[in-house]
Subunit: 392 residues, 2 copies
């Protein structure tokens, strides 16, 4: 009998809004969003799930949310409690936390026409996004990222996940949100490590795609290091824009194998694991970028002048560019990391290396000898900087 | 700052193949499929997960699969064991079964470039499809449906799911397979209830979309009731074709609220639940269709001649058109079912009713008095038929 050939397209669209004081009654952004979503005959509901660390720093937020909805969005019925979840990898490791969210979806009758509003850093957005994506085969998700990293990178993208038996991101889906609200006022309560850490992904996209953006960073490196809000606002906007462009222009749900945004990430993933996630993702990515840039220079691919500019920017931002775990067991762990990344990609290794600032090329092999040399270089580089600081 | 507007499309395509003796060395279908999927540099793997009831009826299959892959598909590395899972709702109720599948994905290193091959009826395909969809954010899924229902309906579609705390399909995703192989020889081992039960979804699509297909069923009703393979092959092909057309032509991932394929399903869902799933899905759907058709006739929408033709076809196929649970607690349960369906749809009830054979219209209200009358009608109809059988 004749083969049936099925073929269709699914369209996604969502906006990433930038704002201050999102839940202030005078801010019409959320109100307008929900008004545009109204449809006769549907009683939409909303369930807010937030990072407990964020709620601790912003105890006024639950009350503000409740007032905002009752006064400005009366057509959406808000669940009677805000669900609080731990931040960081903890949230993604414990299946009971996931179950608790699905139970809340059931208890509050959140259906496919209702909303889940996720407030928090990358890990919480990953977890809540996953719970939303698989409950009733997909509840409408609104993301309110509260960290630099989630506002400029993961929070504006299409992925979500939890860990399974300690394996990072083993369970997850590709599921775009219906809207992202980046409230820049939330960044003020971040500690310095989280503020800095989020800049790593901006450096990454600048290096592989946009030399002008990297030059802008060089010019604003002092302002960024000193937590200048306006510079950070521009950095987040430009990085988010490049991230969303990349998703739309390529292979949004990663059916293929090219993953240029993994630049600097193979070593970073291993380093996070080796440090038991005590190092922040962005801190690991900064080291991963440094390592692959030194590698590219040693392989005769990247000019030394470019390498120095890259290391200088990261150093001035306050990133450490070496971690002792890189050298552990005579670098065997790191080589395992490369092997694991190869397996993760399905057997064929694909690594992005820089040709120059703003332009990367994918290669399919790395030389372990050069990796070792690059580790030694970074070790010496970092201890020299530390010594010179001590002498200052 | 300026809002970033994200927008993209994701393309899906897959073939539904019809064949006999899929794993016979002389059948090149699977071999050709995998050859088309080869890509240099990738070592693809495959994990087979099968319905234990099916394996019991087809003990030769594991050996055949193993020989087929080693001789005809050497480029794909088959996992060393076939994972067996219980059939029916049991498979979807126990989270440990889901965990066991994800653990197998991990243990056998099944990555996003590898395949999971699911063999079984609708429940097993739902479960395995869900495990595949969320492991590594989506492993390529090949479905080999082994029942009439899964070959003509669920197995060719885009949904998957498991139950959560006893709630049917509470967790799931929309995730198309990369291929579906309908092997008609597998239907021979079905018992009469499963053979018949799968025909209900074909009746459903014929009634709402294709009068000619319904007429074909009237002409072939005796052949279908007597398990004529050729008639069944045509029925499955036509039903699968209409199902895939519907998905491609409409709203594949059901972002909106129109769900015409739910015709006859609101009462069916409740009935499955009330009978603790002792009634087959197709058996419940037949009763649900009968109920909504009697309703449409009593509401003056459907001509009595059409109603009689519909009830006659279903009766001749061997379907019972009434179940005592419909009348339980003076029909309060059934009315609750309508309310639950309304909530499931997000507050606005949408029910497909027939205007005539081949044409349905969506309505947003049902009269509970007429529902009661329709239940009484079916009760009388069924007992009259049973009596006349006893008298024969």
């Amino acid at each position: 009998m004749q083969t049936i050939q099925q073929s269709f397209k699914v369209e996604y669209s969502y906006a990433v809004f930038f704002t201050h004081y999102l839940f202030d009654q005078k801010n019409p952004l959320l109100k307008n969003f929900f008004n545009d979503y109204s449809e006769q005959g549907f009683q939409r509901k909303a369930l807010v799930i937030a990072d407990e660390g964020f709620l601790h720093h912003h105890p006024e937020i639950p009350g503000q949310i409740s007032s905002y909805f009752s006064e400005s969005v009366p057509q959406v019925q808000l669940a009677s409690e805000i669900i609080s979840v731990p931040g960081g990898e903890t949230a993604k490791n414990d299946i009971n936390t996931f179950n608790r969210l699905v139970e809340a979806v059931d208890m509050y009758g959140i259906d496919r026409h209702s909303f889940i509003i996720a407030i928090g850093g990358g890990a919480v957005l990953d977890l809540v996004g996953y719970a939303a994506a698989v409950s009733h085969r997909g509840i409408k998700l609104i993301r309110i990222p509260t960290t630099v990293l989630s506002q400029n990178d993961s929070g504006v993208g299409v992925k979500n996940s939890i860990n399974f038996h300690g394996k990072k991101n083993f369970l997850g889906t590709f599921a775009p949100p219906v809207a992202v609200f980046n409230d820049l006022t939330f960044l003020k309560s971040l500690d310095d490590r989280d503020w800095r850490s989020g800049i790593a992904e901006a450096i990454k996209v600048a290096l592989i795609k946009d030399a002008a953006f990297f030059e802008w960073m060089e010019e604003h490196v002092v302002a960024l290091a000193h937590r200048d809000t306006e510079s950070m606002a521009y950095l987040i906007h430009r990085c988010a824009e490049m991230h969303t462009d990349h998703i739309a222009g390529g292979d949004p749900f990663e059916f293929g194998s090219s993953r240029p945004l993994d630049f600097g990430h193979w070593a970073a993933h291993k380093l996070e694991y080796l440090t038991n996630f005590e190092i922040r993702h962005g801190e690991a990515v900064a080291i991963g970028i440094a390592l692959d840039c030194v590698y590219a220079a040693k392989a005769g691919r990247l000019a030394e002048a470019d390498l120095n500019r890259i290391l200088e920017v990261m150093h001035k931002l306050g990133f450490e560019l070496y971690h002792p775990k890189l050298s552990e067991n005579d670098k065997i762990n790191l080589r395992n990391g490369l092997q694991e990344f190869r397996e993760h990609l399905g057997g064929q290794l694909t690594i992005m290396l820089l040709d120059k600032i703003g332009k990367g090329t994918e290669v399919h092999e790395l030389d372990t000898g050069i990796i070792s040399d690059a580790v030694d270089f970074l070790s010496a580089f970092q201890s020299q900087l530390t010594e010179s600081k001590v002498l200052e």
